[in-house]
Amino acid sequence: MTEFTPLSALAGGALIGCSAVLLMALDGRIAGISGILGGLLPPRPAADWDWRLSFLAGAAAAPLLWRLALGAPPGFVVSAAVPMLVVGGFLVGIGATFASGCPSGHGICGLSRLSRRSFAAVATFMATAAATVFIVRHVIGA
């Protein structure tokens, strides 16, 4: 059970938005993590690996800067057992690759561009994600 945190959610979302706008303004790229990451991976990784690696390094280093500036970053609680993490991770990866995007690419960038593909993708993954959580928590009771 987690608390509703509207202000930090809005502020965090706005910061994510700033990140996306900056990446587009300076580098002309969509801030879609599955695509940025995918371009580094086989088969046929993209030639522009430099900005991709830089972006991902920045995202991974953010908690370290947070710690320097503000103290301990927010914690997290993982309720999924190891098999669910592994199966879930694999499905997230292969699913995002076929869908050409994930919540950052489709949810933030795509919706902002009024992309009909993104509206369809977001509606679909929200629906199956909610259904999955319903089954896991309320049917199976895991």
Partner: protein
């Protein structure tokens, strides 16, 4: 070089945004998806904040005609809603609902060196590679005009 510094800063902002929003915590993500349980609407506010800023920001940026460090905007060109999109999104959603992590939300928690995010991340990489292999085969359904997904 400058495009890399820009990307690094953008990545830092992204990671900070994920941390501030609470989306690095699978419990909050699953709390949003758990519509039949104790519902936490926070993720909707994250998306609202993100889309509001990005929609306005993109309009301003696109009006300038080109990015600062690149010759053109690299934008997705496809518009049709096809089977890979829907099947992929549906599959993504199942995985997201199982793990509570997605590609973006896991990045800023890797530094904690906690094993769970790394397990997810390893499986994520395997899944992306499997997807790229599947989409690169000659018998795979055509990806349509433009570059293959995930490749700029």
């Amino acid at each position: 070089m400058r495009r890399d510094l820009a990307a690094l800063i953008s990545g830092l902002l992204f990671g900070a945004g994920i941390l501030l929003s609470g989306m690095s915590n699978p419990a909050k993500v699953l709390g949003f998806l758990d519509i039949a349980g104790h519902w936490d609407p926070s993720l909707a506010f994250v998306i609202a904040g993100g889309v509001l800023v990005t929609a306005i920001g993109y309009r301003l940026v696109f009006a300038t005609g080109r990015p600062l460090y690149e010759p053109v905007f690299d934008l997705p060109r496809r518009t049709e809603i096809d089977a890979p999109l829907i099947a992929g999104a549906a599959t993504f959603g199942i995985g997201w609902g199982l793990a509570g992590f997605c590609p973006g939300s896991v990045l800023p928690v890797l530094a904690s060196l906690s094993p769970e995010p790394w397990l997810f991340f390893a499986a994520l990489l395997a899944g992306i590679i499997a997807g790229r292999v599947a989409r690169s085969r000659p018998t795979a359904p055509p990806a349509g005009a433009g570059p293959a997904p995930g490749v700029a």
